[in-house]
C-alpha cells in the first residue's frame, strides 16, 4: 500500500477519487450519473457500471475463463471496488458509440455528451500550453483509441527503471515545439516513505544578440535556443524562468541559503568550452498547509563566448528536491545517490538523443502536435533500444571516469557492482551490506550479516564495492 497524498495521483485511486467528486458535485451516485449523462444519450443499452451486473443483463455478460490443464475453467465476476476506475461491462457496438461521440468531438447523432470546445480541450494533450508545467493529460490518451496513444510508448520506455528501493520513477517526454529539446524531458522521482521528491527542471538553451534581426523577438526559438538576454544572477534566473510555471510555490521567495560549487562550474567550462559558468544550490523554505517544507534548486548556468555578435547561454543539470523540513539534509546521501544513478539511465539518454536527432533533422514543424511526435518516437523505438544498448556499453567503459567526477561534487556516494546488470551503481555510503535482486531493487543494511534471501522469493545478491581507480 502507498501512503495517501501525492502518489494517489497516478493510480486507480485517483480515477476513483474523480468518480467520487462527480458523485459529490452532481448529487447523485457515480453509477446514476454515468447512466443518465453518458450511457442514455449514447443509446448504450448493453452497458452497465453496476456490480454485479443487473439481472436483466446477466445473460449478456461474458463468462471469464481460466485456461489451464487443457480446459477452460469458468471464473466468477470480479468486483472492482474502486468502481469509477474499472467497473464497467459493455458490448462492442456500445463502445463503438462512445468512440463515435469522442471522434466527433462530443456529438452523437443529434445529441451531445460534450460541447465541441470541451471535447477538443479534453483531446488536447498540451492542455496547459505553458512551458514548465508537467506533461499533464497524457494519461487520458494512453487509454484512448486515437493516434495519440503512442505517447504511452514514450512513457513506457522509462517505466522499467528501478532505483533504490522505495523510490518511484516517472519519466516522460513532452513536446513543446517552441522550446529546445532539453525543456522537453521530464523526470520525477519520489520516496513513498518520506515524501522526498526529486524533479528535473526544464533546461533550456538561449541565444542572444543585441542586434536582433527584425523577425526575431525575445522568446522566439532561434536555432534551438530561446532568444533571451543572459541572466547572470542564479536567483534572478529562478525567478524569471521557473517560478512562473515549474516552481510556482517559490514565487516571491528569497532563498534561505546559497551554496556555490566551483568544481562543477569548472567542469562545465571544460566540457562545454564556455567562458563562464556558475553552479549553485539554492535552499528555499516554505509553508504549505500548516507544514514546513524545504526545497533545494540546483543548476548550472553556462555562458559561451560571443560569436559573430551572438551570445549563447544555457542552464544545465537542473533539478530540485523537496521534503518536509529537515528531510533534505537527513537524507542527503540517498538523494545524491538517486540523482547520480538517474543521470546515467541509458534509456533516458537514448531517448534524449533521438529527440535531439529529430530536432536536428528539422522535424519540429511536422511534430508540432503531440500525436505526430508520439508516432515519430514510435518509429524510432528500435533505434532507441539500440542506442540504449550502445550507451550502456559506453557507459560501462567510461563509468569510472564519470563516477570520479560525479563524486567530486556529490560526495557521500560509493560505487558498487551490480552483478545482474554487470555494471556499477551509485549507492549512499555508510552502510554495511548492499544487496540487489533480479528486478534491480536494492536493500541496504547497517548490519553486515543481514541477508534478504531469508524468507524472500527474490534472488538477492550481494553487491561488492568497486574501486573506481582500478577496473
Amino acid at each position: 500500500m502507498r501512503p495517501p497524498g501525492y502518489l494517489v495521483v497516478y493510480s486507480n485511486y485517483g480515477a476513483a477519487l474523480a468518480g467520487l467528486i462527480v458523485q459529490e458535485v452532481s448529487g447523485m451516485p457515480w453509477e446514476d450519473y454515468i447512466e443518465k449523462n453518458i450511457l442514455a444519450p449514447l443509446d448504450m443499452h448493453h452497458t452497465t457500471v453496476r456490480q454485479p451486473v443487473p439481472a436483466a443483463l446477466t445473460n449478456d455478460l461474458v463468462t471469464g475463463y481460466l485456461y489451464a490443464g487443457g480446459e477452460f475453467q469458468p471464473q466468477g465476476f470480479e468486483i472492482e471496488l474502486k468502481s469509477p476506475a474499472g467497473a464497467m461491462s459493455a458490448s462492442a457496438t456500445d463502445m463503438a458509440r462512445f468512440m463515435i461521440a469522442h471522434l466527433q468531438n462530443g456529438r452523437y447523432g443529434e445529441k451531445r455528451i460534450l460541447s465541441e470546445t470541451t471535447a477538443k480541450t479534453m483531446h488536447s494533450p498540451l492542455f496547459t500550453n505553458a512551458p514548465g508545467v508537467s506533461p499533464m493529460l497524457y494519461g487520458f490518451w494512453e487509454r484512448t483509441p486515437n493516434g495519440e496513444r503512442m505517447l504511452e510508448h514514450g512513457g513506457g520506455t522509462f517505466s522499467g527503471v528501478t532505483l533504490l528501493s522505495l523510490w518511484q520513477f516517472q519519466g516522460q517526454i513532452l513536446w513543446l515545439h517552441q522550446f529546445s529539446v532539453l525543456a522537453n524531458l521530464r523526470l520525477r522521482l519520489w520516496d513513498t516513505n518520506t515524501s522526498t521528491t526529486i524533479e528535473w527542471l526544464p533546461m533550456q538553451h538561449f541565444s542572444y544578440t543585441d542586434q536582433l534581426p527584425g523577425l526575431l523577438h525575445p522568446g522566439d526559438n532561434w536555432m534551438g535556443g530561446i532568444v533571451a538576454a543572459p541572466v547572470t544572477d542564479p536567483i534572478q534566473f529562478v525567478e524569471s524562468f521557473w517560478t512562473p510555471q515549474a516552481l510556482p510555490h517559490l514565487r516571491n521567495r528569497r532563498p534561505a541559503a546559497r551554496e556555490d560549487f566551483p568544481g562543477i562550474a569548472r567542469q562545465a567550462i571544460a566540457n562545454d568550452r564556455c567562458w563562464q559558468a556558475q553552479a549553485v544550490r539554492l535552499r528555499y523554505a516554505f509553508e504549505r498547509q500548516d507544514r514546513p517544507w524545504e526545497q533545494d534548486v540546483c543548476f548550472t548556468l553556462a555562458y559561451a563566448p560571443v560569436n559573430a555578435g551572438v551570445a549563447m547561454w544555457n542552464v544545465q543539470r537542473a533539478y530540485t528536491c523537496f521534503a518536509p523540513k529537515g528531510g533534505l539534509d537527513a537524507r542527503a546521501s540517498h538523494i545524491k545517490a538517486v540523482i547520480a544513478n538517474v543521470n546515467m539511465t541509458p534509456e533516458w539518454l537514448a531517448t534524449y538523443s533521438v529527440v535531439k536527432q529529430l530536432q536536428r533533422q528539422g522535424l519540429q514543424q511536422q511534430m508540432a502536435d503531440t500525436a505526430a511526435f508520439g508516432r515519430k518516437l514510435q518509429e524510432y523505438t528500435a533505434h532507441i533500444r539500440q542506442l540504449g544498448q550502445q550507451m550502456h556499453e559506453e557507459r560501462m567503459k567510461s563509468f569510472d571516469r564519470i563516477a570520479e567526477s560525479q563524486r567530486e561534487y556529490l560526495g557521500g556516494v560509493e560505487t558498487y557492482n551490480d552483478p545482474y546488470q554487470r555494471q556499477g551503481v551509485y549507492m549512499p555510503a555508510g552502510y554495511k551490506a548492499y544487496w540487489v535482486n533480479e528486478k534491480g531493487e536494492v536493500v541496504l543494511s547497517e548490519q553486515a550479516s543481514y541477508n534478504p534471501n531469508v524468507g524472500d522469493v527474490n534472488d538477492w545478491r550481494k553487491m561488492e564495492r568497486r574501486d573506481p581507480m582500478r577496473q
Binding site: 500500500m1 502507498r2 501512503p3 501525492y6 486507480n12 480515477a15 476513483a16 477519487l17 474523480a18 468518480g19 462527480v22 458523485q23 458535485v25 449523462n37 453518458i38 456490480q51 454485479p52 449478456d60 455478460l61 461474458v62 471469464g64 475463463y65 481460466l66 477452460f72 469458468p74 466468477g76 465476476f77 470480479e78 468486483i79 472492482e80 474502486k82 468502481s83 469509477p84 476506475a85 474499472g86 467497473a87 464497467m88 461491462s89 459493455a90 462492442a92 457496438t93 463502445m95 463503438a96 468512440m99 463515435i100 460534450l114 470541451t118 471535447a119 479534453m122 499533464m136 494519461g139 487520458f140 494512453e142 487509454r143 486515437n146 496513444r149 513506457g156 515524501s195 498547509q289 523537496f322
Partner: protein, 175 residues
C-alpha cells in the same frame, strides 16, 4: 493472478482490434479495405488465429468510421457451457480500466457546466473525507486526469469476487 491475465486477454481481444482499426480510419476510412466485407475477411483471419493460439473462448470487434459503425462481429462463445455465442451488439465484456474514460468524460461534462474546476484542490469537492497534504502542491483534478501507465496500485483490496465486499465509493476511498 493467472485468472486475471486470462480475463484481461479476452477483453483486449475485443478492444485492441477496435482501437487499432480506429487509428487507421481516422486518416483514411477505407485505406486497405474496399468495404466491410473485405475487412471482415481480414478480421476473421486475425481473430481465428488469436482465439486458437491464446485459448480465448470469445471476442467481439467493432470498427467505426465517419460517425458510424463500419463493421462489427462476434467470435466464439460468451459462455461455453450454455453455448451462448458472442453477439457484438449485446454481449457485454468487462472493459476494466477503459471505464476511466467514462469517469473523465463525466468530469469534463461538469467542468463544462462550471461545477468543477480542473485547477482547484480536490479537497474543495470532497465532503466525507479530505486528502491529507503530504506534498506541497495540492492535488487537483488535472492531476487525477493524468493517471500515468506503470503506476498501478497494489492489487490487494482492488478486486473481489464476493458481492458482500462491495462498499460505497466513499468508504473504499476513505481508507
Amino acid at each position: 493472478m493467472k485468472m486475471k491475465s486470462r480475463i484481461v486477454t479476452i477483453l483486449l481481444a475485443s478492444l485492441a482490434v477496435v482501437c487499432t482499426s480506429l487509428a487507421g480510419t481516422e486518416t483514411n476510412t477505407t485505406r486497405g479495405f474496399r468495404g466491410p466485407a473485405e475487412m471482415e475477411a481480414f478480421v476473421d483471419g486475425v481473430i481465428a488465429a488469436q482465439l486458437e493460439s491464446l485459448h480465448i473462448p470469445g471476442a467481439a470487434v467493432a470498427v467505426v468510421a465517419d460517425g458510424k459503425v463500419y463493421f462489427a462481429k462476434g467470435y466464439g462463445y460468451a459462455d461455453l457451457e450454455k453455448h451462448r455465442k458472442v453477439d457484438p451488439e449485446t454481449t457485454m465484456f468487462r472493459i476494466a480500466s477503459v471505464t476511466k474514460l467514462f469517469t473523465w468524460t463525466a468530469v469534463m461534462q461538469l467542468v463544462e457546466q462550471g461545477k468543477l474546476d480542473l485547477k482547484v484542490d480536490v479537497n474543495a469537492y470532497l465532503k466525507a473525507f479530505k486528502i491529507p497534504a503530504t506534498f506541497p502542491e495540492p492535488i487537483t483534478l488535472t492531476h487525477l486526469l493524468t493517471h500515468t501507465a506503470g503506476f498501478e496500485d497494489s492489487e490487494i483490496g482492488e478486486y473481489s469476487l464476493d458481492p458482500a465486499h462491495f462498499k460505497s465509493l466513499g468508504q473504499v476511498l476513505a481508507n
